[in-house]
């Protein structure tokens, strides 16, 4: 049984003229891009549009990809920039009363699922209160699970700056949770401060 081609192999095939192989790359990463866009504050109804733009941009600049870093890191970078651009261009207000409509899901769900969705919605609201340049490293590290050096590469910032922004972002998030969403505070040693 043939093994799955790596990202770099697929990219080489696309650049050699096998454009149809780009679809495999999209399938592999479309959820990651969509999730990252939502977590960066793009309303759910606009996520497909942003993801479409991201992959089109990726296709057009595929020659510039440097395989020394993971493809996903490059993809995150383009996604974060696209999400921030979208937010800036649309001047999305991050007030909490606008977020629920943006995150409204269709279809009925069981009670536990509804509770989880409600928690997710409140967390999105809380994150939306943090300024973009602080939220980006917070989301990339604590939601997307990237390491500091990867966050630094994605945001094109020195590691020291990323660390200090993370420190401030967590402090802001803690304050927001304390003030507006105390029920969300996790019962951890760190949460004792809240």
């Amino acid at each position: 049984m043939a093994s799955e081609p790596t990202d770099v192999e697929l990219i080489r095939e696309v650049l050699a003229g096998g454009v149809e192989r780009f679809e495999l790359l999209i399938r592999r990463y479309e959820r990651l891009v969509a999730a990252a866009a939502i977590r960066m504050g793009v309303p759910r109804q606009e996520v497909e549009d942003v993801a479409n733009e991201v992959f089109y941009k990726v296709y057009r600049s595929l020659k510039r990809y440097e395989p020394t870093h993971a493809f996903s890191t490059w993809l995150y970078r383009i996604t974060v920039n696209a999400a921030l651009d979208r937010r800036r261009s649309r001047r999305h207000d991050t007030r909490m009363d606008e977020i629920p409509a943006a995150l409204a899901d269709s279809g009925p769900s069981p009670h536990e699922d509804a509770e989880r969705r409600g928690r997710v919605r409140l967390l999105q609201e809380a994150l939306a209160r943090i300024p973009d340049h602080y939220r980006a490293p917070l989301v990339l590290m604590h939601v997307e699970g990237l390491a500091i050096e990867e966050v630094s590469r994605v945001l094109d910032l020195p590691e020291g700056t990323v660390k200090s922004r993370l420190f401030r972002a967590r402090a802001m998030l803690k304050q927001i949770i304390q003030r507006h969403y105390p029920a969300l505070a996790p019962s951890l040693p760190g949460g004792e401060a809240s």
Partner: protein, 190 residues
């Protein structure tokens, strides 16, 4: 309670990585459905149809520019050959050729004088105007380049047409000289 966020948090304000990880865990677990591959691939395919590579000759402007030089030289050579041919074909050829040779130094002197006068005019009066004109030319450079190409193409076309006319009607052209019955001054031999 103030709604302002702590942009410069104090030491101890950071709840720590474990706290953030635990708080944001539901976001990590959230499944996002997304199916954009068909639309992206359609966009990519549409772009590939719309942006076909230019024909090789249009994609190499330098080659075209280089081709203009031999085309110009060929035009000049052809003009010289035609002039010489006309000079030889003209009745006897010697008289007009001699007259032309006598006229040439005067012509060169006259052109030189005019050029010197024009240069003086340019240096003293027209320099600012020329600078402005140069800026205009610089702006219109793409248009001028296009015009240059058209001129070169027209020159080549004229060569082809001239060759055709010259070759086609050469056999039927009236012969000059005594054998043809036509003298250089237009009279007929007795």
């Amino acid at each position: 309670m103030s709604d302002r966020l702590p942009l410069l948090p104090r030491h101890g304000d950071d709840p720590g990585e474990a706290w953030a990880e635990a708080l944001l865990e539901p976001l990590r677990l959230e499944e996002i459905a997304c199916d954009i591959a068909p639309s992206v691939m359609a966009r990519v395919a549409a772009e590939r149809v719309a942006v076909r590579p230019l024909p090789a000759i249009l994609a190499r402007p330098r080659l075209l520019w280089a081709a203009c030089v031999p085309a110009g030289i060929a035009s000049l050579a052809f003009l010289t050959i035609i002039c010489l041919g006309l000079g030889r074909a003209a009745a006897g050829g010697a008289a007009p050729g001699g007259a032309l040779a006598a006229l040439l130094p005067r012509l060169i002197r006259l052109v030189g004088e005019r050029l010197a006068a024009a240069a003086g005019f340019v240096v003293t009066i027209a320099a600012p105007l020329l600078r402005a004109a140069w800026a205009l030319v610089d702006t219109l450079a793409p248009l001028l380049r296009g015009a240059g190409l058209v001129a070169a193409a027209t020159g080549l076309l004229s060569i082809v047409i001239s060759l055709y006319v010259f070759g086609h009607y050469r056999g039927t052209a009236p012969q000059a000289g005594a054998a043809s019955g036509i003298l250089p001054h237009g009279g007929t031999p007795r």
